[in-house]
Amino acid sequence: MTARPDWRARVPDGMWAKCENPSCAQLLYVKELERNLMVCGQCGYHFRLTARQRVKITADADSFEETDTDLVTLNPLDMEGYDQKLARHRAKTGETEAAIVGRATVAGYPITLGITDPFFTVGSMGSVVGEKIARCVEHANEMRCPCILISGSGAGARMEEGILSLMQMAKTSAAIGRLRAAGQLCITILTDPTMAGVYASWASLGDVILAEPGAMVGFAGQRVVKGTRSGLGAEAQSSEFQHEHGMVDRIIPRGDMRPTLERLVALAYAAPLRRGAAP
């Protein structure tokens, strides 16, 4: 899967951006696009967002406190080129890794928030991303509050960390198991793209699973499927297909995501037998 370049890179003057939907390609005024939460006003195409942009449109203003910022990725398999790749992505995105996690509020209610960033190694999950997601879930458990996880992981498990990446699937799934046992709500949001090891672990384990329209969502990447005995059309790997087949509760356009989350979190807090402190 090739990462689409950050939309800003295409408009040196920062004034105009082209819709990334090839069948639209409308020129869009950047200010207008940003006001529209990076959704094309012409065709409704949802641009990919960085994890920081997600925080902004998800959590209450200024409520996000980032945690677990001190985890540093190693090269445990001595994979050639991995250190350089990480350096490149750090420089490009200004992030240290493909996930940011922290505490925040939604409609005034405490939650923990974990987000993977499609612009950092296409959001792939290595040891640090797995650890951050697991901690985000555990923080919710300790705080007895809901946990919201947003996936922008198109590359699944991070190849460069080999089998250790695969184990992050078990780690994050186990953490959500404990959150469930503690009676706390977990919401996962699937954004473009959500694939493979991430979709086959925490992203599929929300009590409520929401998805953005038109997001690529599925198990094996097209490159993996290609060359197998029969093909798999791209339509089978969309949020709409997953919704139609009962894997996703609701497709929510970006502009409606915040109110939807507010409503769900408020409902969780309104449960008469809820375990945990009142907000």
């Binding site: 990725t73 992050q168 086959a200 198990f219």
Partner: protein, 331 residues
């Protein structure tokens, strides 16, 4: 269970040649053409030395070939030689029965356990029926059903992992292969009974970890455990990867049992017969049975709460990173 190394691997060419000479000498001996006793003894010695030499220098790619050997013992072979009174149960109670994964209760040394495991086929027809050991969602949901039942009934779970990868085609996607794998991991991480996982052949990616969460994770000496098949990794690294590049990719992935032990992903390596489990499946099963009984004996000492906490901590601790304060550029 009849095993023979009838399918020689490419790096066994010299052994194959010697074996043919030996067979010829044995034939002549039996037809009493002449006394070939010395020749036979010499050839047997040569074969033994050659096989040891190969075994001592196996590359990761050669281990991949052994792990995929068509005569390698599969789950039902182990069931036949390790367990008694096995009753195979079928179906996920939701949609269908996926025969790429088998399971049911059986006795291990007189104690009832629930066996689950991937099952590849031996004949062409069986391979197709079992989808070459590639599981659809129903396989994981059958595993969920059986392990939940085991928990209720107080039976430990023994899980055999041997799959090239989970099924990834349209039907698998439509019935939620990702959800099935995710939910099985979550379930197994919390089972209040001992769970022992044995990676016996191919530990293929999500398909493997889907039934790979346990208190003990064992791995046969020449089994592999990998986030992606070497062919897939080579395709990512190189355009139109040549065979040597696939071999390089296999080495880079650190997919051997020895690597998995070093990386803290498994607990114990189980020695295979010389040349691989396919040379002597019965001996392999006997070794595996001994180890399973030992591990189960230890796990049965632990109270359920402690068992579950230790299992959580085990997987929670997987991964390698350091902790250091880093300024985020532009923060």
């Amino acid at each position: 269970m009849k095993y023979s190394a009838s399918r020689w691997l490419p790096f066994e060419e010299e052994v194959r040649r010697l074996q043919e000479e030996l067979d010829e000498a044995l034939r002549k001996q039996s037809e009493a053409e002449a006394d070939h006793g010395e020749r036979i003894a010499a050839l047997q010695g040569q074969i033994e030395r050659e096989r040891r030499k190969i075994a001592d220098g196996l590359t990761p790619w050669q281990k991949v070939l052994i792990a995929r050997h068509p005569n390698r013992p599969y789950t039902l072979d182990y069931v036949a030689h390790i367990f008694d009174e096995f009753v195979e149960l079928h179906g996920d109670r939701r949609y269908g029965d996926d025969r790429s994964l088998v399971g049911g209760p059986a006795l291990l040394g007189g104690k009832a356990v629930m066996v689950i495991g991937h099952q590849k086929g031996r004949t062409t027809k069986e391979r197709q029926e079992r989808n070459f050991g590639s599981s659809n969602p129903e396989a994981y949901r059958k595993a969920q059903r059986l392990t939940e039942m085991a928990e209720r009934l107080g039976m430990p779970v023994i899980s055999f992992v041997d799959t090239p990868a989970a099924q990834c085609l349209f039907e698998a996607e439509a019935r939620g292969i990702s959800e099935a794998i995710a939910a099985t991991q979550l379930l197994m991480s919390g089972l209040r009974i001992p769970v022992i996982v044995a990676v016996t052949g191919e530990g293929g990616s999500g398909g493997a970890i889907g039934i790979g969460v346990g208190d003990r994770v064992l791995m046969l000496e020449h089994a592999i455990y990998s986030v992606i098949p070497p062919e897939g990794f080579a395709a990512i690294l190189y355009k139109n990867a040549a065979p040597e590049q696939v071999q390089t990719a296999a080495a880079l992935l650190k997919l051997t049992a020895q690597d998995a032990l070093d990386l803290g992903v498994i607990d114990r390596i189980i020695e295979e017969p010389l040349g691989g489990a396919h040379y002597d499946g019965v001996a392999m099963a006997a070794t595996l049975k001994k180890v399973l009984c030992e591990e189960l004996h230890e796990l049965l000492e632990l109270p359920p709460d402690e068992l579950v906490d230790l299992r959580y901590a085990k997987f929670r601790g997987m991964g390698k990173y350091t902790v250091r304060s880093v300024e985020r550029a532009g923060a």
